[in-house]
């Protein structure tokens, strides 16, 4: 369990002071992965540095297992840091040591006897699925494998908290998926509190239980991943499942043809109980076929999430259509004539979140 209480970090003094973290509050419970997302310069790296106390926060507290790390002198801090395992973007493996020797190093620094070290290293490499690569050097491993060694090393001292600072950034999709799966396993098996700092939205959807959006040093949005995805008004939810262009947006400009007679609706899953055949059911309830113009649907943590753009024949009453859709647990909104502008606005809201750091 890790708690950040009004964590503030300011660089410089007087007029030139820059506040990078602005009384930030965040709690990650055991067995939970909290993703912190945000554009470059939002304070993600500083947050990571402050959590491990590699940077001293200007004010506020970092509590790991109820113990305030910020109050500790440097010597005790070294010991306290051992309660937080850290995985960095660059795997940070020592090039002249094998995978096993890299994992062993924190144990060696702690003063664990060689026999126990060997046993623990074997166990850790087994845990991350690299038992057969123990004696390989980092350059002989793939990016994903190196990051697994990094995770094994982070777990060497049995931490209760795992800090992942852009751990999957720079990995190919396959390696990212494997690291995500490993982190979820570790969360469940070791009841780790995982603080997952990233700028990659796809990874967040795959890994996180809760998500916090960091902007200008503050957490501006925070909630369970599924809830965010079920809230159409949430900028974070929209950024996590970006809307795509749909057929309706092309036909709209045409003055003639069927497009003029149809109303376009943006529909999104607003709760857990949306039946998979909602489009058929809504069509049946309205007595006419609805058109599917575009959709992005998927399952997150066993719950269906996503959104779709549908077209309804122009003769239908807006209220009837809305009632039919809401009755199925969907959120529905008619796209007005200024829809293109709305979409553009939605895109600009997403953009700062999608900046590649």
């Amino acid at each position: 369990m890790i708690e950040l209480r009004s964590l503030t970090k300011t660089y410089g003094e007087g007029q030139h002071a820059t506040t990078v973290l602005d009384s930030l509050d965040l709690t990650v419970s055991p067995g939970e992965i909290t993703a912190v997302v945000g554009p470059s310069g939002a304070g993600k790296s500083t947050l990571a540095a402050c959590v491990t106390l590699l940077e001293r926060p200007t004010s506020g507290a970092v509590l790991v297992g109820g113990r305030d790390l910020t109050a500790l002198p440097e010597k005790d801090l070294r010991e306290a840091r051992r309660g937080i395992g850290t995985v960095f973007q660059a795997d940070g493996l020592l090039t002249r040591r094998t995978a096993a020797q890299n994992v062993e190093l924190p144990l060696k620094h702690l003063g664990v006897v060689p026999a126990q070290r060997r046993a623990r290293v074997a166990e850790l490499l087994e845990r991350v699925g690299l038992a057969d690569k123990a004696h390989r050097y980092p350059h002989e491993l793939s990016g994903g494998q190196r990051q697994r060694v990094g995770i094994a090393r982070a777990l060497a001292l049995r931490p209760s908290v795992l800090l992942s600072d852009e751990a999957t950034s720079g990995l190919d999709p396959q390696a990212t998926a494997s690291i995500v799966a490993l982190l979820k396993e570790l969360r469940d098996d070791l009841q780790l509190a995982v603080l997952f700092i990233t700028h990659e939205m796809d990874t967040v959807v795959a890994v996180a239980d809760t998500v916090a959006r960091l902007d200008h040093g503050r957490i501006v949005e925070h909630g369970a991943l599924v809830d965010l995805l079920h809230t159409p008004s949430s900028p974070l939810g929209r950024a996590l499942l970006p809307r795509r262009a749909h057929a309706g947006s092309i036909a709209e400009d045409g003055a003639t043809g069927p497009a003029t007679q149809r109303s376009v609706w943006v529909v999104s899953h607003a709760g857990h109980r949306v039946p998979a055949d909602w489009l058929v059911r809504a069509s049946r309830a309205l007595g006419t076929d609805l058109e599917l113009l575009g959709a992005s649907l998927s399952t997150v943590a066993g719950v269906a999430v996503g959104h779709a753009v549908i077209g309804a024949p122009g003769h239908l009453d807006d209220d009837d259509v809305e009632a039919a859709l809401i009755g199925l647990g969907l959120h529905a909104q008619r796209e007005e004539s200024d829809a293109a502008e709305q979409r553009a606005a939605a895109r600009t809201l997403e953009q700062p979140l999608e900046v590649v750091a």
Binding site: E79, L94, R96, Y137, A175
Partner: protein, 276 residues
């Protein structure tokens, strides 16, 4: 005859060069002197230069334990040692050398200025090697609770070993050059022979021999240094068998296709690894 020549090289200067048969008796002992001079100097240089270089990096800004004032003092001292041309440093140090060794000629007298100049040189090389270790490695170690001393030994020095060995090679070769300069003030060694016979007596045979010996000596030191760097760098060490394998498979095209197949079958295995 050759002993007579050695005893009073300048007085017996004639237009006659030494014969090729006479040269080894002159050059071999001189080579021995050079090796002793450089060897003793390098032992001192390593013993003093490593701690100095470590303190330059550790105490400097962004170091493990920054101490700006102390760092500035050490850095200034080292820079003074580095800034004087060796010939001038050697001449300036004569009183100090006599104080330490009791003499200002011969090998002991040469070792003192060489060791001083070499230590200043080597401490910068060590500092530079330590600075080149990626800060991310230091961050990882510190985040897992390593003390500054543990970071220094098991991360910084350990990662910098190949680089420091490469620097040691450069430094040793520079010391061979310095030993030749020291030869001009009567320190003995190859440099002394080159100056007294090759330069002052225009003995071309001796001059050519000393040049060949020096080139060979530097080549041997460089080869040894390169081997040491390779031996301490895992990714260069491993590359050798791999290239050989590629070479043999290229030579026999029939055996190259199984190699390709095994590497292709290895990657799906890694992909399945990915899922557990």
């Amino acid at each position: 005859m050759s002993t007579h020549v050695l005893a009073s090289p300048v007085l017996t200067a004639t237009s006659t060069d030494l014969t090729w048969a006479e040269i080894p008796a002159l050059v071999l002992p001189a080579l021995g002197d050079t090796l002793v001079m450089v060897g003793v100097t390098m032992a001192i240089v390593v013993a003093l230069g490593v701690p100095l270089g470590v303190s330059l990096d550790t105490l400097g800004p962004g170091g493990l334990t920054p101490r700006p004032v102390l760092h500035r003092v050490i850095s200034a001292v080292v820079s003074v040692g580095r800034s004087l041309p060796f010939l001038i440093l050697m001449a300036a140090l004569v009183p100090f050398t006599r104080f330490v060794t009791g003499t200002n000629i011969g090998i002991p007298a040469a070792v003192v200025p060489m060791a001083l100049a070499g230590t200043a040189f080597f401490s910068r090389i060590v500092e530079n090697s330590l600075r080149s270790v990626p800060p991310s490695l230091v961050r990882v170690a510190r985040a897992s609770g390593a003390s500054p001393l543990q970071v220094l030994t098991s991360v910084k020095l350990s990662e910098a070993v190949p680089s420091i060995l490469g620097g040691l090679t450069i430094n040793t070769i520079a010391m061979i050059e310095y030993s030749a300069i020291a030869g001009t003030i009567g320190a003995g060694g190859i440099g002394y022979v080159a100056v007294t016979y090759g330069y002052q007596r225009f003995d071309h045979n001796v001059m050519i021999t000393t040049i060949v010996v020096l080139v060979a000596l530097v080549a041997v030191v460089q080869a040894l240094g390169d081997a040491a760097v390779r031996a301490t760098t895992p990714h260069s060490r491993r590359r050798v068998p791999r290239q050989r394998r590629a070479g043999t498979s290229g030579a026999t095209p029939s055996s190259s296709s199984p190699t390709v197949q095994t590497s292709a079958s290895a990657s799906p295995k890694e992909l399945t690894d990915v899922h557990h």
